[in-house]
């Protein structure tokens, strides 16, 4: 997870967002191998908020 937005082009930003959302979802649902502690859940939420902000900025740029 933790995509570095600065390194992304518009072509792959959607893939990156989808990847981050899927990874966060797996971790929170505990369907993945990894174990998530409460402190990590906070971190995941922060990353998701960052992702949401990125989506919002993309939407604003739409004609």
């Amino acid at each position: 997870m933790k995509t570095s937005w600065d390194q992304l082009s518009d072509d792959n930003v959607v893939d990156a967002i989808v990847n981050d959302l899927q990874e966060a979802s797996r971790l929170i649902d505990r369907q993945s191998f990894g174990s998530v502690r409460d402190s990590q859940t906070v971190e995941i939420k922060r990353i998701l908020e960052e992702t949401k902000a990125k989506i919002d900025s993309l939407l604003e740029r739409l004609p």
Partner: protein, 307 residues
């Protein structure tokens, strides 16, 4: 020498990593992890530590778990043995007995009537044993009977170590059945994973790992096998093997795939060798089903065909 393979099968890229022994894994894996995933591997020692369902059975630290795997876990082996014996009452006994029945082979019998006459015996006056006839008789296993067992210890984080014990019990029971049926067994433990790697690296979607617990010629170390069949094996060395891949791993390490075989065993199966895969088993009923399915695949007539 590290043993890895990356290739495409059925349209999907795969990565396989395996070691011929736990000792080989200990010698070679750390350098592989350092290349790409040292940071990710550090998180492994903290995962699940506040959760007594992670390793379970009184194991509360990563080091304690890896020590049990290295030196053996007699208490867990005793538990598996006891629970495996308890399964007998619930198993289809006819099937289980069938598996332990010896293979029948034609053997030449001498008696007072038969298909061919042995003239030297007639001349010697041994008329009770002068006639010969082939008779199908049970016999203890032949040395050419081999089976490779792959125990896939994959389990999502939500899986409780107490539930995962049923898979270890099934593995113990199946191994015992093969041994009592006279098979030489080779045992491997590993995991199967999907989505292990960070996106955009052109990395494979699926990963298989494996460590050989014992070769055909080696005796079973019950205490080590018990530790390596526990979910603790996945949550320590299984995860480390994923971190040994040449791509950056996801923070979750992906999710259980729960199917297939690590490459050397897949090749054996494709070559016609007998390979048994033991996978998901989270309840007593599922363990019974797993053991019964293996026993049924080894009914005497099938053994006879194979020998």
């Amino acid at each position: 020498m590290e043993k890895t393979a990356e290739f495409t099968a059925g349209g999907a890229a795969e990565y396989h990593i395996w070691f011929d022994s736990l000792e080989e894994m200990h010698a070679e894996l750390p350098a592989m992890i350092r290349r790409h995933n040292l940071e990710a591997s550090h998180q492994l020692t903290t995962w699940g530590m506040s959760n007594d369902a992670w390793f379970g059975f009184g194991i509360n630290s990563y080091t304690e778990m890896t020590t049990k795997i290295r030196d053996g876990w007699p208490e867990y082996a005793e538990l598996l043995g006891k629970r495996a014996a308890e399964l007998d009452a619930a198993l289809d006994l006819e099937t289980v007995r069938a598996m332990t029945i010896d293979v029948r082979k034609r053997k030449r019998h001498r008696m007072d009537q038969g298909d061919t006459l042995d003239l030297p015996r007639v001349w010697n006056g041994d008329l009770d044993h002068a006639w010969e006839r082939p008779v199908r008789v049970p016999r203890r296993s032949a040395s050419q009977r081999y089976v490779t067992i792959y125990l896939d210890v994959s389990a999502a984080a939500m899986r409780n170590a107490r539930d995962a014990v049923w898979r270890a019990i099934a593995a113990k029971k199946i191994t015992d059945l093969f041994t009592s049926a006279g098979f030489s067994t080779e045992i491997w433990v590993g995991d199967s994973t999907s989505g292990a790697y960070v996106w955009n690296q052109n990395a494979p979607a699926k990963t298989w790992t494996g460590v050989r617990v014992k070769e055909f010629s080696q005796p079973i170390n019950e205490d080590r096998l018990a530790a390596m069949s526990s979910v603790g094996m996945l949550r320590t060395h299984g995860f480390e093997m994923i971190c040994g891949s040449p791509w950056k791993v996801q923070s979750s390490l992906g999710m259980p795939l729960n199917r297939g075989l690590v490459l050397p065993l897949r090749e054996r199966q494709e070559a016609g060798e007998r390979v048994i895969r033991i996978g998901e088993c989270w309840t007593r009923e599922e363990a019974i089903r797993e053991v019964t399915a293996v026993a049924q695949s080894l009914l005497p007539q099938k053994l006879e065909e194979a020998s």
